[in-house]
Amino acid sequence: MTFIPTIVGVILITYIIAYLIPTDPVRAWVGGEKLLNPEALERVRKKYKFDAPWYEQFTFLTYMLFTGQLDDPIKRVKVIQELSFRFPITFELAIFGFIFSALIGIPLGIISALRKDTIIDFFVRFFAFFGSSMPSFVLYYFLILALFVMAKTTYLAGVPRPSTTCYAYISSLPSSFPIIGHLLFYVGQIPLFGSMMCGEWNIVWETAKRFYLPGLALGLLNGGFIARIVRNSLLDALSSDYVLFAKARGLPKRWVWNHAFKNALVPLVTVLGLQFGGLLSGAVIAETVFNIPGMGRFMYDSIIRLNFPAIIAGTFLFALVYVTVNLIVDILYALIDPRIRY
């Protein structure tokens, strides 16, 4: 249970950052230097307990956060609402980025392992170097130029969402089915999955059109790295004694291959898991360039405007995501590798 201090610590860091700010955030919220109304200022201050000592502030804000009552001072809505709107969008972006990274990286990695030290291997290595040296925003602009401006294959505004009837259906699920219903309800909040569940395939297609470009960009940037990991772990597995033993026993090629691949899977799962976790933390730059209203952009906006409640809520969400992703990776690890079971 070491993640609890991590979460607490993360929130703590937010407060530390807050204390570095010399300006009074409340002014920024209420409307900048031109003071509207000293009464309004006072009200806001009281509401967020700015006149109270810092530990009281901290406990108050955390409590409000956990009970879902925390208000966004700038947008005048509950912070929870904003998060529940933004997070599924980042999730969609993460899914597309993940799919493309895996689609590009894994096959390239396998090929370069099997054709070790040939031109293909060299090309994949080259590709990995470019992926890690290319400034992301430059690649984004170029893909936009190629596939949006010139070829008009995508669009860069808004996020496709399923119809209201669909949402009604999803909201009814928890009452129809006990446990699974609740799970499906949350999954359905993500527009992509929601529309899949309702069978609204045109929405799914629209989502693909909207997100494939950032997904492809992320895939190009990360694919090379994934390919190298796959290549190296596969080569290690293929040159191991158990593979030789499998060949020596006359096992069919496919079975021998399974021996190698299953072992190579272990480091791959870790890397892919961490990648997905990183994508979930919101690729701020991608969201900015591709105009995606996700978590990354949300955090950026909140920080710039010193919107504390939003920052705290967002930070907390990130910490949660981080811990969850790590947990899932650990579980997958234990599933694949019998040596790591508790």
Binding site: T6, L20, S132, G296, A319
Partner: protein, 370 residues
């Protein structure tokens, strides 16, 4: 090509050995195996194409970064397009005549190529400062945590975990937003420091608030950088701590720091060096990204990422050359460090040197027989 590189490196090693010999007679004798290892590493490096290309790119980067601002034929603060409107956002042309810049101009009418020469200095200095200051910080903290253990270790590790759990970019954004005012205050009270830093980044005194923005980006990056190294160093310390030779050193009465410096550090210096090289690439890109988002210096400072973000407004018909030029420069800088780091990793791997030795021995046996 590789031969000349090897000869050059070999000569440098010899010169260094000779100078140590002058200071202390008999040094060469004592350290002959170490010198041999260095020469093997130099040979391995000179034979790797990746290393040579990377080294070449890095060399150019460093040269242009240092000389750029002096060589650049335009000043970055000149709003040229006011006086010569046809210089506004001019696409590149290849005629090399006076009024036609090779890489086009931006919306101020400034020659992109001239601006890049300034920008390289800024990018290079930031990445260098981040790595040169952040890495030792991380190392020292890691050493302390690993060696002392106990409460210090626990606290440091919790802090490190928190920083690693936080998405790096977000943390940098937070600090970069919050620090400029504080840093401005700091610079006000220390004019000498301010002037030194202005010179380092090749900026005019008028830009000192931009300097604060730059420094906040840099501080943000450093804060995010050290935990990684602290964790690695702590891990190595823990694994080495239990080994007997440490106990032996202790029983001889060597102080803690002595042990750490003389026995621990040399073992972990190679992987750290490799990581630091890769980090120079990452820091360059991250700094450019923060500037792209608007958190770094603003006009008129010609930071590469910032120029690209401005170009985004006019993209693509009226500014594609800016994105290509600045983007390629960033790409080549990062590529240089990445290639160099990869080559260094191979060079430091003892197996590479052993393979070279085996081959040399086999070759000499063959020739001896003839």
């Amino acid at each position: 090509m590789s031969e000349s590189v090897y000869n050059l490196l070999s000569k440098i090693i010899d010169l260094y050995a000779k100078s140590r010999e002058k200071v202390k007679y008999g040094w060469i004798q004592k350290n002959i195996s170490k010198i041999n290892e260095w020469k093997l590493m130099a040979y391995a490096y000179s034979r790797s194409y990746i290393g040579l290309v990377g080294g070449f790119l890095v060399l150019i980067t460093v040269l242009l970064a240092i000389l750029g601002p002096y060589v650049s034929w335009e000043e970055y603060w000149d709003y040229r397009a006011v006086l010569e409107p046809d210089l506004y956002l001019r696409p590149p042309c290849l005629s090399f005549t006076g009024n036609c810049p090779l890489l086009g101009t931006d919306e101020w009418g400034r020659d992109i190529l001239a601006m890049i020469l300034y920008g390289m200095r800024i990018s290079f200095v930031i990445s260098l400062l981040v790595v040169v200051l952040g890495v030792p910080l991380g190392i020292i903290l890691g050493l302390m945590a690993g060696y002392k253990g106990g409460i210090i270790d626990e606290i440091l590790m919790r802090i490190t975990d928190m920083f690693i759990a936080f998405p790096g970019l977000i943390l940098s954004i937070a600090f970069a937003t919050v620090l400029p005012e504080r840093i401005r205050g700091l610079l006000d009270t220390h004019p000498a420091l301010r002037d030194f830093l202005l010179g380092l980044f090749a900026l005019r005194p008028q830009e000192y608030s931009q300097l604060a923005a730059l420094l906040s980006v840099f501080s943000a990056l450093i804060i995010v950088w050290w935990p990684g190294y602290a964790r690695i160093v702590r891990g190595s310390v823990l694994s080495v701590k239990e080994q007997t030779f440490i106990e032996a050193a202790r029983s001889l009465g060597l102080s803690t720091w002595r042990i750490l410096l003389k026995h621990l550090l040399p073992n972990i210096i190679s992987p750290i060096l490799v990581m630091a090289t890769f980090d120079l690439a990452t820091a360059t890109l991250l700094a450019a990204s923060l500037s792209f988002l608007g958190l770094g210096p603003q006009d008129p400072v010609p930071e590469l990422g910032f120029m690209i973000s401005k170009a985004g407004l006019y993209f693509p018909e009226r500014s594609w050359w800016i994105v290509i030029a600045d983007g390629t420069v960033l790409l080549l800088i990062a590529l240089g460090w990445n290639l160099l780091g990869d080559a260094l990793r191979d060079v430091f791997d003892p197996r590479t040197r052993r393979a070279i030795e085996v081959k040399a021995r086999a070759k000499s046996l063959k020739e001896g027989k003839k």
